[in-house]
Amino acid sequence: MTRLRRPLALALITALLTGTAAPVMAADGDKMGFTTYYFTDSGENTVITTAFNLAKKVMRQTVLLLDIELDNVTVPPVTAVTGATRPQRRKGEPFEKSRGQVIVGVEQGFGATTTTALSGYRSQEVDYVSTSVIGTVSDEFFDRNLTLTARAQGNWDQVGEIQENGEVFNRPKNAFTGALTASQILSPTTVLDLQYDLVTLSGFLSDPYRKVAVVNDDGSRSVVDEKHPDRRVRHAASARVSQLIPGIEAALIGSYRYYFDSWEVRSSTIEMRLNKSILSNIILGVDYRWYSQSGASFYQDRYVGAQYTADALRTADYKLKPFDSNNFGFTLGYLFRGLAGGNPDLEFLQGASFEITYFRYFNTLDFSADIIQGGLKFSI
């Protein structure tokens, strides 16, 4: 519980900041939000995220955007299958890491339906720094039934490796992302969302801490650094249909994503979600997700041969193996609008909610996790 003290304090401070800044900042049309999420999985990895966002109108069609997020990640001593990179030398102790993220941007509207935005993003943690610039253009067509958005993003990251002496050795990793989104209203109760993402990465695309076991020609074993290609092109095409079923106060949301990349990893993701309204301010959600991927062209269960201690590509990244996964989720949400009562000062509660989710994830690599996620969302 001691681990929770710092992030909880941060969450409290952010909430207070939002509360006091609100009356000052909130002119007509301004928006401010605060969210905090707690996430834990059965490997005892925990993430506490606190985010604060602000949109302040400065001119007729110009809005300034600010987004601050703080994550606190804790990984238990036992080497678990986790996404948080961690220095190998710290195997015996729980590993705690903080990440801070800031986004500053400006949104400019043109005419009745066009919006453009430009933001700068910076994320920092002890062994990873990410800097990016994001530009978006959005427009509405066909009586505002179709919204098309194009996004271009450049990332300049530093993948760090914490050395024995505590210093961080950095390797650059750059990425360019293009994304196209189309949201089409198909009926008063149906929306279709289509998205296409393209990411090209170059630079250091491995994990500095991961090692690969190689069987040499003479039968002996070596442990060498992972070696991935220094370029990767990734594509994802997805479609989502959201259908409201007013008769039973429910909504069904289904989505499919197809992914493929230049390392020959291909995957399909299917997700179905059912949301049901209970007692007017409570929402129950049930979710199922199926995922299946192929392995990278250079993935092998065992690396045998001298070339793998030299220049041949090799990986210990389980994310480049072929596998399937299933995920079942249950969510309970409470909308605070029910508490607004007759008081106009409590109108801001219209946008507030609390939510708790449990999901069980398991894959064909013998990894399973019980995840609990809870959050408070508050916006005016």
Partner: protein
């Protein structure tokens, strides 16, 4: 690759056809229902996405938000 092209062509056609019977601004009340998650619980979704993308080899997703209430600005 051909399957992908056909899928995209069909999707584009669907968009164009759907656009011909537009849903009026005043008929969009139901789309504002929180059950449809159009307000996009951004932080929650990105936490979930981080979980999956840190354990799986894919990126991207239907994170598109748009259409919606038809409210002007």
């Amino acid at each position: 690759m051909t399957n992908l092209r056909t899928a995209v062509a069909l999707a584009a056609a669907a968009i164009l056809l759907a656009g011909c019977s537009a849903v009026k601004a005043y008929e969009r009340g139901k789309l504002a229902d929180p059950l449809l998650e159009r307000q996009n619980e951004f932080e929650k979704q990105s936490l979930e996405q981080k979980f999956f993308s840190s354990r799986e080899g894919s990126i991207g997703g239907a994170a598109g938000i748009g259409g919606g209430c038809g409210c002007a600005k």
